[in-house]
Every structure is written in structure tokens, then in C-alpha cells.
């Protein structure tokens, strides 16, 4: 696997928690994306991707997250992101308007605690 980013998956009931460490750019976006897919089992209803340990993320990473959200949505699963307020990653996400499409929490607990029905407005 790539040195640049490391993906760790963890199953918590119907929630799959994926922590991504390292950097995401154009060179490893596809790889990270497919690793997240692997880490998420068949059972999970919701995928929480924790970006707290990401040290670099640019628009290629944003594009990856958008594609991932789309793919999950087509299978009726949801994607939640975690990025601490004030972090560089959070700034990039905020700037691209991603939180308007994908639920974004500052703390992991918040993302995990949300109930299944607390879907964004677009999914009534």
C-alpha cells in the first residue's frame, strides 16, 4: 500500500468507521477511495470517514469524497465526515461547499451518535 495515506476500517454495529491518516492528492485519491470501499463491509448502513489525521488534502481529495458520497447514495447508504473545526482540511472542505452535500461534524462522537433517520434534508 501507499506510504502517503493509510486507511483503517472499524465496524461498529451498522456503522463503519474509517480513519484516514496521511495525505491525499491526485496521486493516491483513487487508491484511497478503493481502500475505503474495501474497509466498509456489506452490512454497514452508514460510513463515517474521519479526516482528523489527514495532513494534506486538496481538491483531488474533495472530488474523491464527492464521488464516494454519490456511490454510497446510489446504494442507499450514507456518508458522514469528521474534520475538526479550524483544521486545514476543514478549511478546504468548507471552501468547496462540501458540507452542504455531505454531513460534516467536528467531532467523531457527533458523527457516530447521529441516528439513522437524521439524514440530510435531501433524503426525506
Amino acid at each position: 500500500m501507499s506510504d502517503l495515506a493509510r486507511v483503517e476500517g472499524e465496524q461498529r454495529g451498522t456503522i463503519c468507521l474509517v480513519r484516514v491518516h496521511g495525505e491525499i492528492d491526485l496521486s493516491n485519491a483513487h487508491e484511497v477511495s478503493s481502500e475505503i470501499g474495501v474497509a466498509m463491509g456489506q452490512e454497514a448502513r452508514r460510513l463515517v470517514v474521519d479526516l482528523s489525521d489527514i495532513t494534506y488534502l486538496d481538491s483531488a481529495g474533495v472530488a474523491l469524497l464527492l464521488r464516494l458520497a454519490e456511490r454510497l447514495r446510489s446504494r442507499r447508504r450514507e456518508l458522514h465526515l469528521v474534520a475538526p473545526r479550524g483544521s486545514p482540511v476543514r478549511r478546504v472542505l468548507d471552501f468547496t461547499g462540501l458540507p452542504r452535500v455531505i454531513p460534516l461534524e467536528s467531532r467523531l462522537e457527533d458523527a457516530l451518535a447521529q441516528r439513522d433517520d437524521a439524514l440530510p434534508d435531501e433524503f426525506p
Binding site: 506510504d3 502517503l4 492528492d25 486538496d58 481538491s59 472530488a63 468547496t96
Partner: protein, 814 residues
């Protein structure tokens, strides 16, 4: 004729000195000359024709010339004294006698002086000596004594003035004849016998000859006036057989007899006036003297030429013999044989060495063209035959193409021979002979082949060029072993890892030649593969260890592998039995990295090799090397390491110069083992703002590493650097990579500059930005515009330039 020899310069003056050197010997010389002169004068006066003192043949002048030539001109008092004593009784007074004596002394003195000037040689064995004594010694010089003598006679009234010319002529002829006849004779007596071993019959011949000359001259002159010429052939005989030694006495004998006959009025001198008698006698004497002289000189000269030729021929023959033996030795040393084929005679001769090359005892059997070709292996024999036939058909002198062929010796050994040949044709273009050389090139060919293989392997095994890593200077050297097999198993490699770190390796496979080179090639490739996969040096080394253990490799394999993070300067490394890397700090202090050491690869040592780390500060130098650098015969490896640590401290600024200096100091002359060197030095990025990389996704991470370092070294605010500038650069570079070149490849250039607290980044490509394709793209440029204070985007036919600026100093964040 080239054999003419120059007169030795020494004799005349040397003799003067010799005569004056010793008072007693000088006095004896003077006395001897005086006595000889007086005696000769008394004998000569018996032959006087005019009065009592004019003789047709005056021997004392000859004696005087000999005396001056042999004893030196300093003995003149002897001549003068004797002349005075001789002349006193026959002249009218003391004064005329003294004047005459002075003339008699002066003439031979002048003769001897002039002869010395013209290079006269006392052996009279050259034509020029004969000419000199006739014209200079006799005819010219004796005009002095004749003039003085007759002048005194006329002046003293002893001679009527009208008789002066006749008397002058007689006087002159008499003195000249004295020189011509007596000088050569006496000179021939005083010459040492050069060839003592003269056969007895030669003496007998001489005796018979002289008896014959005496008898013939006496009988001929006495019997018939017209038979005088009969002695001429005998003089010729004497000159031809005995040269000057025979000719001079013979001439003297004949002249004495003729003069005696003239004085006694015998034979042709019975009748006629005094002048007529005089004329006949002088003519006869002159003929005798000239004939014997010149004939003897010519014969001598020819004999000398002949001897010189013989000597030259003998010298030449000796040289040829010497060269032949040298050639034989040279052939033996160089393993080159030679042969000659006399075509019409159907004969072939081989040199001794050629027999040896073919595995035979020299000259063991006679050779013909057929037997020679039969020695050659069948597949090559046809080629040799057709080459020879073609050469013979060409009918001119020419070289044949060199040919390499194989023979099998009687003991079964196969040898590779290299043959050269040339053909020589006769006047009618018929082939006369063919000559050639044969060299045993078996060993050379074998070595060449192995060397070629090994070299090819090695060239493929070492990196053809080192990667250009921003912020890191690299230099490498490989010095092959000085022995014939130039390729060893030393290797090094530099790998750019996916993480942006740099993998550095150096290793040594024991042994030389193709086998070691091929093992090292496999290892190098394996290391590259593992290094790309595995970030930990210890893990890479451990995998290589397993590979070596499983793969047969019997050689001892050592290596050290390091991973350098240029950003932090941290180096992690693992060492499998290799000499420790050396770190030379900025101040020149050198230390070895002794940690992280494990056994050589393939030793079945369980467990991972140790891993160690250290920090390589900017401008310090990391040196990797193989044992060839520190191992020298007769010196322990510890001493070698110590020496290396000492030498490395005064490495120059330039890494290439550093490597050169190390090799110069550590490796003297031919190395027994090959040497590989790899030197690494992190250098500041500041002042090297331009980075040029291929526009590919894989460069993004290393690029960020470099930019981080560069920004840190530029004292940029860490937050601005890492969260803003880095992101903006990343976005623009990603754009270039995705849109500038399409499917083609192209470069991406970044330059950075921090001035007055403002960072300016320029990113340039040579392509044309295409519109964003996917629905999820398009965030890049707006994000950059958000991050930076100013962004200029200039597109043109030569490419696109993005220039952006932002305050970058600490506390400058909005």
C-alpha cells in the same frame, strides 16, 4: 670510396714536444740527424755532375725531411750543422757555405711544415699522400735550396752567371729526387710492421725481387742504353706486392744505379754533353720515382678499401647473427612464431617458436604447405587454403588479410592463433615467397570475451545516471580493479521512494567477473522492488537476506541500505555486514555509523537486522563506500578506516571534488579490488528556486516535501507555508498535471521566491490547459484565488504561467 681515413692530427706537434721534452733524447736526436745527413751527403757527392757540389741525386734532403717528419722540426740544428760541415770544403768560404747550409735546412723545413698542413700521412698509403710528397714536399719546397745554393755559387763567383739556369735545374732536380727516393724509403723503414705474421715466402719473394731489380738495372744500363725501361715492370711488381715498403727501396736502388752510371759515364751516359746526360738521368729517375710512388699508393688505397669492406661485411654478419638470436628470444617471449614459404622450391620453414605454438619440439619435422595446413582444424583450413590461393593469383606484392584460426595440439589442447602473411613476387610477377607470423592469442581472446560479458553486465547494473533530487547533492564513483578482469561485484543505487524519501544503497558481492556482476544485478533489482514496497530499511534488508538464502547465491554479499527523509534530515538504515558509512559534519569532523550492523546476507541469521537512525544536518556529507577503498594489502582494515576518517575531513565544497580527492588519497595506482563510492549531501534549497519535474501525479508528494523544506529555510510562517502556500501550489500543480498535456508527457516548473516577507510562486508548463472534465473538478483555481493575495494566469502558445503572491512572514496571517 668511403674508407678514406683522415690523418691523425697529433703526430707532428707531438713529436716536436717529444723531441724537446727530454734534453738528452733531444741531443741524441740532433746528433743522429747530423750524422745521417752528413753520411748521405758524402754518398751523394760521389755522384756529382757539376763541379764538386752539384749532384743529380742529393739524398741528404730526403734524410732531413724524414727527420723533421718523424722527430719534429726542432731537430733542425742537426741538419744545419751537418749541411755546414758538408758545404765548408766544397765552397769558397764560410759565408757561402753557411748560406748554402741555411738553404739546405730551410727547404726540408718548409717541406715538412707544408706536408703537415696538407695532412700528409707517413705511411704514404693514399693517393693524396703520394701527390703531396711529390708536389709539395719535393718539387715546390726544393726550389728554395736550389735558388739559395746556385745564387750563392754565382754570387761567390764559383759559377758563371750564364750557367745559372742549368745549374739551378740540376740542383733542384737533385734535391727533389733526394726527397722522392730517400724519404719514402726511410719512412718505410721507420714504420712499425703492422702485420707481423708475414709468411716466409713473402720474404723470399722480396729477396728475389730486389736481386732481380739490382741485376736487371745494372745489366740493362750497362749492356744497352735502350734497355733501361726494363726495370719499370719490376718496380710495378714491387709496388703491387709490397706497396710503399717494396716500391721505395726498389726506386732507391734503381735511382742509385742510374745515378752511379751517369756519374761513371756508363751505358747511356757514355756520350753526350753534361746537360744531355743530366736530362736523361733526371727524366729516368723521375719516371722511376713517380711510377713506384703512385702505383704503390693506389694499390695501398685499394687494399685498405678492400679491408674496410671486409670489416664492414664481418660487422654486418655479426649484427645479423645478433638480431636473429634477439628475434628468436623475442618470439619466445611474445609467443609469436614466424614462417617462410619458398613457393617454387615447395619449401616451408618454421621458427622454433612456431613449433612450440603447435605443441612440438623445435624443428621436429620438416614442413611443407600441406603439412602446415593439416595442423589447422578442418573448419579453418579451407579458409587458409582459399586465402593463400587468392594471394598467389593476385601476382603482386601484398599483405594477406589477418586470419584467426584454431589448431588442436597433439595433447588435445585447442589454441586460437592469429596469422599475418604477405606474398612477394619475382620480376615476372611470379610468386616467389610468402612470409608471415603466427601469434597464440588463446588467452587474450578468452580474457577479452569474459571482460566484454562482465563489462556489459556491469554497465547494465550500475545506474547510468543519478536522479536529480532537489536539495540533495549526489556524487558516485566506480573504479574497476586494476587486474585483467576489470569488473567486480561492487554496486550502488539511489531510489526515489513513493513517500518522497530517498533510498540509498551500496553493496559488495565477493568475487569478480561475470558471475559476481550478475549476482549484483539481481540484488540491485530486488532491492529496488522491495524498497518501493517497504519503507523500513531493516525490512528491506531482511527480505534481501531471505532472497539470498533461497537463491543459491554462494558468494558473500554485504550491503547497507539507508532511507533519507530530506525534509527532516532523518536517516534510517540497516547494515548487513558492510563497512560502516561515514558522516562528515560541516566542520570536518568525521564519524562512522557503527550501529544497525547485522551479518552479511544469506548467513541464515534469524531475526530482523538491526535498524538505526541518525540526523543528517544540511551541508554535512554521508559517504557510502565498499571495502576496496579502505582495504589494502599489508594494512589492517582498522588502519584503512582511520585513514579514511582523516582524509575525508578536508573534503572540498564540491561533492565531485570530494570523491576525486578520496580516490586519489586512498587508492594508489592499480587497485586489487574494485571500489564504489556514493556521497550524499543535503544542501539548502534557498538560492535554487527552480524545480523542474515531469508533470505526473507521482511527483506531487516529493514536491510537497521539497516545498516544505524550502519554505522552512526561507523563514516563512509555518501556518502560511503548510496550510496555504503548499495547498495553493498543490492545486496549481494538480491542474497542470491533469490539464496541460492531455495524454502526452511534459515538464512542470516551479520557482519560489520570498522577498520582503512576500512569497511569490511561479508555476509554468509548456502545454495548454484544457477545460475541466468531471463534474467534481473545478474547485482548484477558485481555491487558489481564495488562498493567495494575487493570482495571475497567463496562457500562451508556449505554455501557461501561473504567478501568485502572498505575505508569508510570521504574524502576517489575515
Amino acid at each position: 670510396m668511403a674508407t678514406r681515413e683522415e690523418t691523425p692530427k697529433a703526430p707532428p706537434d707531438a713529436l716536436v714536444n717529444a723531441a724537446t721534452a727530454h734534453p738528452w733524447s733531444y741531443a741524441a736526436g740532433v746528433l743522429l740527424v747530423a750524422v745521417a745527413y752528413y753520411t748521405a751527403a758524402k754518398l751523394g757527392l760521389r755522384l756529382a755532375l757539376v763541379g764538386r757540389n752539384i749532384t743529380p741525386f742529393w739524398p741528404p734532403t730526403g734524410i732531413a725531411v724524414v727527420a723533421f717528419l718523424v722527430l719534429g722540426r726542432s731537430v733542425w740544428p742537426g741538419v744545419a750543422l751537418a749541411a755546414l760541415v758538408v758545404n765548408l770544403p766544397i765552397t769558397t768560404g764560410v759565408l757561402p757555405a753557411a748560406a748554402t747550409a741555411a738553404g739546405n735546412t730551410l727547404a726540408p723545413l718548409v717541406a715538412a711544415t707544408l706536408l703537415a698542413k696538407v695532412g700528409f700521412r707517413r705511411e704514404i698509403d693514399r693517393l693524396r699522400d703520394a701527390t703531396a710528397i711529390v708536389f709539395v714536399g719535393a718539387l715546390l719546397s726544393m726550389s728554395i735550396s736550389a735558388s739559395v745554393g746556385t745564387g750563392v755559387l754565382v754570387a761567390s763567383g764559383a759559377l758563371p752567371a750564364d750557367e745559372l739556369p742549368g745549374s739551378w735545374a740540376v740542383w733542384w732536380a737533385g734535391d727533389a729526387m733526394g726527397v722522392l727516393v730517400v724519404t719514402p724509403f726511410v719512412l718505410s723503414l721507420v714504420q712499425p710492421w703492422r702485420r707481423p705474421g708475414r709468411p716466409h715466402w713473402k720474404h723470399l719473394e722480396a729477396a728475389v725481387l730486389f736481386a732481380l731489380i739490382a741485376a736487371v738495372s745494372v745489366v740493362a744500363i750497362g749492356a744497352d742504353p735502350h734497355l733501361m725501361f726494363l726495370v719499370i715492370p719490376l718496380l710495378g711488381w714491387a709496388a703491387w706486392r709490397f706497396q710503399q715498403r717494396g716500391a721505395a727501396p726498389a726506386a732507391l736502388l734503381v735511382v742509385v744505379v742510374a745515378s752511379w752510371a751517369a756519374a761513371k759515364g756508363i751505358g747511356p751516359f757514355r756520350a753526350g754533353t753534361m746537360l744531355e746526360k743530366m736530362l736523361i738521368l733526371q727524366a729516368f729517375n723521375a719516371t722511376v720515382a713517380f711510377c713506384s710512388f703512385f702505383f704503390a699508393a693506389v694499390v695501398s688505397e685499394r687494399m685498405q678499401a678492400h679491408q674496410a669492406l671486409e670489416r664492414a661485411a664481418a660487422g654486418l654478419e655479426a649484427r645479423v647473427r645478433q638480431r636473429t638470436s634477439q628475434l628468436t628470444e623475442a618470439q619466445q617471449v611474445a609467443h609469436i612464431g614466424s614462417w617462410e614459404w619458398l613457393i617454387p622450391q615447395h619449401r616451408v620453414s618454421w621458427s622454433d617458436e612456431l613449433y612450440r605454438i603447435h605443441g612440438h619440439v623445435p624443428q621436429e619435422f620438416p614442413v611443407t604447405f600441406e603439412t602446415a595446413v593439416d595442423q589447422v582444424n578442418t573448419e579453418d583450413a579451407a579458409r587458409i587454403r582459399s586465402n593463400a590461393e587468392a594471394a598467389l593469383r593476385r601476382a603482386d606484392d601484398h599483405d594477406l588479410p589477418n586470419i584467426e584460426y584454431h589448431i588442436t595440439r597433439p595433447d588435445g589442447a585447442e589454441r586460437v592463433l592469429l596469422g599475418t602473411a604477405k606474398v612477394c613476387v619475382g620480376p615476372n610477377r611470379e610468386p616467389l615467397r610468402m612470409v608471415g607470423t603466427v601469434q597464440d592469442v588463446t588467452e587474450a581472446r578468452k580474457a577479452e570475451r569474459e571482460h566484454r560479458i562482465a563489462e556489459t553486465l556491469q554497465r547494465g547494473l550500475l545506474p547510468d545516471r543519478l536522479p536529480e533530487v532537489p536539495g540533495m547533492a549526489l556524487a558516485a564513483r566506480y573504479v574497476p580493479a586494476g587486474a585483467d578482469m576489470a569488473v567486480g561485484g561492487d554496486w550502488y543505487d539511489v531510489v526515489e521512494l513513493p513517500s518522497g524519501h530517498i533510498g540509498l544503497a551500496i553493496g559488495d558481492v565477493a568475487g569478480h567477473g561475470p558471475r559476481a556482476a550478475s549476482t549484483m544485478g539481481q540484488l540491485r533489482m530486488a532491492l529496488r522492488a522491495y524498497a518501493l514496497e517497504e519503507p523500513s530499511p531493516a525490512e528491506v534488508v531482511s527480505r534481501l537476506d531471505r532472497l539470498v538464502s533461497r537463491l543459491l547465491m554462494s558468494e558473500i554479499v554485504t550491503l547497507v541500505y539507508l532511507v533519507l527523509d530530506l525534509d527532516s534530515g532523518m536517516v534510517q538504515f540497516a547494515n548487513a555486514g558492510h563497512p560502516p558509512p561515514l558522516v562528515v559534519g560541516l566542520g570536518g569532523q568525521a564519524s562512522f555509523l557503527e550501529e544497525g550492523l547485522g551479518s552479511p546476507l544469506g548467513c541464515d541469521d534469524p531475526g530482523l537486522p538491526a535498524e538505526a537512525s541518525f540526523r543528517l544536518v544540511p551541508d554535512s556529507t554521508l559517504l557510502l563506500y565498499t571495502d576496496g577503498l579502505v582495504e589494502k594489502r599489508g594494512v589492517s582494515i582498522d588502519e584503512g578506516l582511520e585513514r579514511l576518517a582523516t582524509v575525508a575531513t578536508d573534503g572540498g565544497q564540491d561533492l565531485e571534488a570530494f570523491c576525486e580527492q578520496l580516490l586519489c588519497s586512498m587508492v594508489e595506482g592499480d587497485t586489487a579490488d574494485d571500489v564504489a563510492l556514493l556521497a550524499i549531501r543535503p544542501v539548502p534549497l534557498t538560492g535554487r528556486p527552480l524545480l523542474r519535474v515531469p508533470a505526473e501525479p507521482r511527483v506531487l508528494a516529493p514536491l510537497r516535501q521539497t516545498l516544505r523544506r524550502w519554505l522552512r529555510e526561507s523563514d516563512a510562517d509555518p501556518h502560511v507555508a503548510n496550510d496555504i502556500l503548499l495547498l495553493a501550489c498543490g492545486e496549481v500543480c494538480t491542474n497542470v498535471i491533469q490539464h496541460a498535456y492531455g495524454a502526452k508527457e511534459g515538464p512542470l516548473e516551479i520557482s519560489l521566491d520570498v522577498r520582503d516577507g512576500t512569497a511569490e510562486v511561479t508555476i509554468r508548463d509548456q502545454g495548454c490547459w484544457r477545460p475541466s472534465s468531471g463534474i467534481h473538478g473545478g474547485y482548484g483555481l477558485p481555491l487558489v484565488q481564495e488562498l493567495m493575495e494575487s493570482v495571475e494566469l497567463m496562457g500562451g502558445p508556449d505554455g501557461t504561467v501561473v504567478r501568485m503572491r502572498r505575505r508569508a512572514l510570521s504574524g502576517s496571517e489575515r
